[in-house]
Subunit: 119 residues, 2 copies
DNA sequence: GTAGAATCTGACACTGATGTCAAGTTCAAG
DNA sequence: CTTGAACTTGACATCAGTGTCAGATTCTAC
């Protein structure tokens, strides 16, 4: 599929898709004329990338991480190096703290919302 | 207390504390010479501000929200306007989705970490 | 072959919180 | 009074992902 369709189906802008490729996160075949041509599983991959971005990982880490992910359709996954595992554990911890933070903020919002919807 | 101590106790840089003041998030008295002087409850407030930043709210929204928060020590809280409530509900929803995203990413990381720590 | 839609590359802008540096002022203690 | 630490304002830089625009090329359908 071409970039426009991929963008539509993932909700990610074409600009970002090209950026992902530039960062080594997303590969594409090319048509004879040079247009990008993506396989079906690119959809899942892009969604995964977006999740990881949303989780606060930078593109470099994602690039290291992706080859180790057992894709739905993908081939054999690479095993993470001990060093990468260390990094990922740190990320995991960070995400854990972030979730806790989000919960607290949600509680804060709830209080204010509650107070406003009370007589 | 002065800005240095507040920074130390909250883990937030002096730069950021001044920025918060500039954005109307954090008030301070001034000494005769112009140095900022914070009350004890500024500590809680700064921590709360950080949480909200971490939750992805921008300073403008936080500025609207803060007066409606019943501070631990604070006086009477303002009731949120219906419009603000709408905004906050949207933020709440966004945070909810973010948490779901983070969970998925955490699961992804776990898979990779697991796979690497297996024979 | 031609028109119009889609895509290409490359460059520059933005956002928003924070880092950093400079030059000057104030504070606290000797 | 002096000295060094702490503080002040203001300006400019950074980061990373994304938006946007321009000019050229390719694709698709008639």
């Amino acid at each position: 599929m071409r970039i426009g369709e991929l963008a539509r189906r993932t909700g990610v802008s074409e600009r970002s898709l090209r950026y992902y490729e530039q960062q080594g996160l997303l590969a594409s075949e090319r048509t004879p004329g040079g247009h990008r041509d993506y396989p079906e599983r690119a959809v899942d991959r892009v969604i995964r990338i977006q999740e990881l971005f949303a989780a606060g990982l930078c593109s470099k880490k994602i690039a290291q991480l992706l080859p180790c992910i057992r894709d739905h359709d993908g081939g054999p996954a690479v095993t993470a190096t001990p060093w990468l595992v260390q990094e990922l554990l740190a990320e995991r911890e960070r995400i854990h703290r972030t979730i806790a933070d989000l919960r607290r903020s949600q509680a804060t919002l709830d209080e204010v919302i509650d107070a406003a919807s009370r007589p």
